[in-house]
Amino acid sequence: MKEKNGIKSIIGKMGPLVALIVVVIGLAIATGGKFVAVNNLMNILRQTPIIALMAVGMLCVILLGGIDLSAGSLLAIAICCTGVVMKKFGINNSFVLFIVCIGIGTLAGAVNGILLTKLKLPHPFIATLGMKNICRGLALLITGATAIAGFPKGMTFVGTTNIGGKFPISFVLTVLLFVVMHIFLTYTGLGRKIYSFGGNKEAARLAGINTDNVQIFCYAASGFFCAVAGIVYIGRLNSAVPLASLEGDLDAIASCIIGGASFAGGKGNVWGTLVGAFMIAVIRNGCDLLGVSSDLQQIVIGAVIIVAVYIDVLRGQMDAKAKRLAIAKSLETA
């Protein structure tokens, strides 16, 4: 009985993965196998990291019951600052540029958290909407609205290098960071505090958890991952573009939601989020192969979000019903 429940719950958790597999098979058939050709699969692995990295940062925020609308702008400000530091100050040391990028991203993310907790802005929507505009504007301002190219090898390494000439190292980095985040969220005290805050803010505060710091941390983490995604971005385009990742925040949010994270907070995990990010990358890629226009792609992704959450709702209802029936049965036999 217990084992059966275990399997069931695993299948339940695998829901998004099953959906992803179905979509992959569907696209493979629709494209006559072109989709699953090794080269294309590697392309997908190249396209996923930016979405996935932003999504795992976003997950921290969504677990709080919050939202970070500024993620795309955070990526832009992080890479543009890096570009400006390189061009204007003539710094070509990759390590320094790397630190600047991560530092700016994390700091800007932390500002979101500080606005929310210290200024007591009523909802993260407001703080991050403000920062979305400020950061995007700043990115355009400091770059004069033009792309900055000519990054040193060290900066483009992550975005360009392939293992064995094919397998993108950016994807290896992504999986590595996801493992770290999984361990962090599941096995550390701070991770526990994030889930606790998302589950019940007041109970967490009254249990002595420093809820302000937990929130600031999560928004900073979102900024951090935007900056990491930015480094991949610099590599892929070999330039810092102020209008980079215009809809990155929404893709990140969608990845979390498709992956089963609850908007109310307290529920969700990194693997679902990774699957969610794949789902978006796979659909985009598949649509490109099929020659579907970008407006249609947008419609498809919108529908996927709604369907994914609806399936989640149905599954929740079925679980609740199955639980009731099982209990009724066990009581009757008793």
Binding site: Y187, G189, N200, R205
Partner: protein
Amino acid sequence: MGKLMMELKNVTKYFPGVVALNDMSFQVRAGEVHGLIGENGAGKSTLIKVFTGVNQPEKGEIFVDGKPVTLGNPNIAKQAGIGCIYQELNIVPDLSITDNLFINYYKKKGVLLDYGYMHKKAAEIMSQLGQDIDPKTLCGKLGLGVQQMVEIGKSILSEARLIIMDEPTSSLSNNEVIQLMKTIRILKEKGIAIVFVSHKLEEIFEICDCITVMRDGQHISTKPVEQVTHDSLIADMVGRSLDDLFPKQVSAKREEFLRVEHLNSIGVLKDVSFKAYGGQVLGFAGLVGAGRTETMRAIFGADEIDGGDLYIKGKKVDVKQPRDAIHNKVAFLTEDRKGEGLILDASVKNNLFLATIDKDSNYGFLDQKKYEAQGKENVATYKIKTPTLETPAGTLSGGNQQKVVIAKWVNTEAEIYIFDEPTRGIDVGAKIEVYNVMNKLCKEGKCVIMVSSELPEVLGMSDRVIVMREGKIMGEIDRDSEHFNQEDIMKAAWGGKLA
């Protein structure tokens, strides 16, 4: 005797982990006021939800006017003539009485709302209920009593023939209760049946024609009011003798653990000063809104205050946030268990160690082995009935949830325990277990402060009682004082002087 209006026959309803209704039968006749009583968790709420179509029973039959029906959803129940006034009122404060009454039933003239008709009808309904009031008044401006009348008005508007009132007097003042009783009599004369659910036996005796007692989801007795007594009802409800209810053990009084001086919070607390000692239960009595919870929240750093000093074991401490208080070994069991005490979706285990995350971490990593071991120990010590440590806390019964919260605080190794309404909404068996925890803490020399609105509980468990009224301390009564009785405490709570 009126004709049979509604009948439940052998209804059984399961929830995860409990049989909420077990072969329950219940009959209501037109024009009768039918009292429904039972301990918390006896199944009253579920019975109400079956009536109102919110829950569907797994077994059994429901008859309305002798005809079998399936109350598949709340709308069907409404059409069958069943209305319900829930404990939590469903009033939109920013809308007028008319808008609240006609919510969902807007009367239209063409495409526009016919406010002329609706205002007139609303005024008529409210005056039927004994409330001559302008229907354009915003509901937020009304007292709770009148808001409740608006709720009753909704049932009248939908032509309900059976109105269920779930603890209708719980948040009403005395005058409002009198008004409600009048209204119930008016409804009764119109042939409307009332199911009156209450914890207050005085009210049951005053208004009901017959009384049904439930226990453990089962029907225990239904008798006309003339045939029952206070004691017989309690015996039916509890199934055990009253002497066992408060197993107080007096422990040796120790040194001063907590001293509060001149606590002030504008408009809430006025110059609150008191001391609490180890080995003792200090009870806080008073009416709802007397400032007891606010005092405790101030001590715990949960709310900001405007002034006052706190001394723990003689040392002045600065408490600005809950974690400062926890650091000073203060624990606070809040009155709102679900809203402030537990993370309902999180597992029992995670709730047990919610307040000790930092203490249980090695270099930031949680000590899972300790969690398992201590979690199992907690479950055994506090008799927490849960299938596993991984079960979501929200699926446990109220009493077991409360035990999880208590264990969470004991795990912090606190020395001062503030229990705010620790037995609210839990059944008698669990209550006794909570009292035993308090005894145990006192025996270990810890200090317990208990806020309770139930006087028998305050008297039954406290070594000393402080009575508050309107944010001020009215008096202090020792267990061996002649004033240590219900009447004198009530007197002080209502502003009287202790002789």
